[in-house]
């Protein structure tokens, strides 16, 4: 694409427009092709630029040389008036086949040159790429950062007002789900272990029959297994087994002021809650959650919903009262708090706080 080559082919027969791209390089383009772009056309008409190398039209920054080449190919084809619609469509379909990165750059460049038909074409292509894909696939295709926090992902269309109650609830929701997910994982892990356990159960029996002090330990492990065996049945009843210990842990944590994880215990937040709460808040901000929650089965989800509603209701009432209740080991509330203490897996909690 050098002037030398052009000079050989009767330059005076055609007129050219000079264009300068963001990197400083200058090229000349046949006039009718370049004028197909409204932005270039306007520049030529209004300012008279582009007639020579020194007065090249400076193109917007988003237009780099390879992309300019593509755009000019497009213009070169379409500026010929005699083409049929079918021809144009066929060309467009072929033209649009390129990798996503180029497609995005092309869209951006076409937009800066105000070449609407090309913008429409590329937008359509991009929409086709996005349509039907899962969020992960879309993120991968466009290199999008996965920077939504857990709770934001689960409640993607929360209240725009950024209500602290909702944030809180979302966090709880998120943790609960994570926890349940992990319990699910453990369930599958545990399925393998089960065989191991059964074998040991036989051993146990033989031990028991042989009458040994070891039987006690066997019982203990049995209990542990049992607890781990049914995570899905009732997340809560599971908790009840171990919650005595955990609630005591709560009280110790609170009394020591180590309420790092226990956000709900923070008095500062509590007062905010109390003040701003109107009471019409519904925790069920499910929006099309059929798609978002694909890995939780309905039973678990219902469980979760119920818990969250519970918690929301409790948020309504006075916080200090609540704390009192907790410290006095009131049965229902305590299930939830241990989650925060330990952050992650509840079963770990069971083990670590097992004082027996």
């Amino acid at each position: 694409m050098s002037e030398g080559a052009m000079a050989v082919v009767k330059p005076e027969m055609k007129s050219y427009i000079w264009l300068q791209t963001a990197d400083g390089s200058i090229q000349q383009v046949e006039e009718e092709v370049a004028m197909f772009c409204p932005m270039i056309c306007r520049e030529v008409v209004q300012t008279g630029m582009g007639s020579s190398k020194n007065y090249a039209i400076v193109l917007p920054q988003r237009v780099n040389p390879p992309i300019l080449g593509l755009i000019l190919d497009y213009c070169r084809f379409h500026q010929i008036p005699g083409r049929s619609n079918k021809e144009r469509k066929t060309f467009d379909e072929k033209f649009i086949r390129m990798d996503t990165k180029k497609l995005c750059e092309l869209t951006s460049a076409a937009d800066s040159l105000q070449l609407k038909p090309l913008v429409d074409l590329t937008s359509r292509a991009l929409a086709r790429i996005i349509e039907g894909k899962t969020p992960e696939e879309i993120r991968e295709t466009f290199h999008l950062p996965d920077d939504l926090t857990e709770e934001e992902k689960l409640e993607p269309l929360r209240n725009i007002t950024d209500d602290p109650r909702i944030r809180l609830l979302n966090r709880l929701y998120a943790r609960k789900r994570k926890e349940l997910k992990e319990r699910e994982k453990l369930k599958t892990v545990e399925a393998e272990e089960e065989r191991v356990d059964e074998r040991s159960a036989d051993d146990l029996l033989s031990y028991i029959n042989s009458g040994d002090g070891k039987g006690v330990r066997a019982n203990k492990s049995k209990k542990k297994n049992r607890r781990r065996k049914d995570p899905s049945k009732d997340a809560l009843s599971n908790k009840v087994n171990g919650d005595h210990d955990e609630v005591e842990a709560v009280s110790t944590a609170c009394s020591h002021g180590e309420a790092k994880d226990l956000e709900v215990a923070s008095p500062h937040k509590a007062s905010k809650l109390r003040d701003s709460f109107i009471g019409t808040f519904s925790p069920k901000l499910e929006f099309d959650d059929g798609d978002m929650d694909d890995d939780l089965d309905p039973a678990m989800r219902e469980e979760l919903d119920r818990e969250v509603e519970d918690f929301a209701r409790r948020l309504n009432s006075d916080w200090p009262e609540r704390m009192q209740e907790l410290l006095c080991l009131g049965p229902p509330e305590s299930k939830l708090l241990p989650v925060h203490i330990n952050g992650t897996s509840s079963s770990c909690a069971c083990i670590s706080l097992d004082r027996r």
Binding site: S108, D111, L126, I138, H143, D147, P156
Partner: protein, 420 residues
Amino acid sequence: MDDLISDLPQSILESILTRLPIRDAVKTSILSRKWRYKWASITELVFDGECVSSLHEGSTIEGSLVKFITRVLFLHQGPIHKFQVSTCYLHSCPDIDQWILFLSRSSDVRELILKLGEAEWVRIPSCLFSCKKLTHLELSSCELDPPPRFKGFLCLRSLSLYRVLVAADAIENLIWNCPLLENLALSYFDDSLAITIRAPNLKHLYLEGDFADIFLENTPLLCNLSVVMYMADDMAEQFELEQSSNCNFVKFLSHAPRLESLAGRAYFAKYLSIGDDPGPLSITFDHLKIIELCEVSFEDMKEVLVLLRLITSSPNLEELRISAGANTSPAGAPDSLDIWERECPADWTFKQLKVVKMTDVDGIPHEMELLKFLLGSSLVLKTMTISPSTYFKHNRMDMLIELLRFRRASSEAEIIFLQE
């Protein structure tokens, strides 16, 4: 590996998001932080049955759809220019009123399309009439009741009413009070509608259903007219009794001098023939290029006359498609065949007619006269395609023999006879 797309200008992202089904557009909110609310400012919201996926337990598609639409509206930010709900799952429900109220409040909406289930009529709330910027309104299975002081949609260009319950004078006023109206489509009104259309800017008119009486009183710019006119058999007689001299043909077409294409299906030709023959028309349709008429009964002299008058008022006709209506007998009595000679202007020629297509031809006298007339007066005719009807097959040879004899004014004319 940086982000390819999130920093594109909002106009492009809007362009992309608008091209996605609304469900996918909303789902982009969980892609990344930047994408959280990008969907919420798209200006076009198009909902259909696909928006809600598999049913949740205990809810209907209608319920899920209503929830979905309400939530989208609630979370949406910014102007809404197009709002469309087209699904047969949705019937009359109070939420529809709320949506229209919501749209009318910001009064930015330009295109409103409501095509709902046909089981019930949705009563459109009067707040619709305060959407001042409407340019495109499409309603289906609705009940419309414009308030008495309604001054019209001043920006409305396109109006389409399908199975809408509305009083005739309300429609007339609506049409008259929308000065920019260019496209009008009226289909299937419950009672036979008798209206007068006054629309100085109207260019495209589509009518379908059974209409008692249509009078295009003021449609000087009309260029496309397409009518599917259903008529009960006894209607014709009833018309005859009621309208003595007013000819429908005149009422319909005499105020549309700029007509470019005319398509009449079902009983349109019959409808036009009701009333007395107006004699040679005073106007010519200089721009009329395409005529399509279906179910023309060549046994009825009045219909034949209508056709004759129509084509002899269109000197620049380029394409003519006729389908003959069912005939009762193969060889009808040759009644008044001389009308062709009498009523056609002397030395009439079609200077632009290139394509003629005639279907369901039986070979009855008036049909043959028409073909003879066309062949003899079309100077640049290229193709004449004839499809015989499925009845009276034994007549075909006679028909072909007669056809062969007709003089052709165009040396390039090809007669294509299509066997089935």
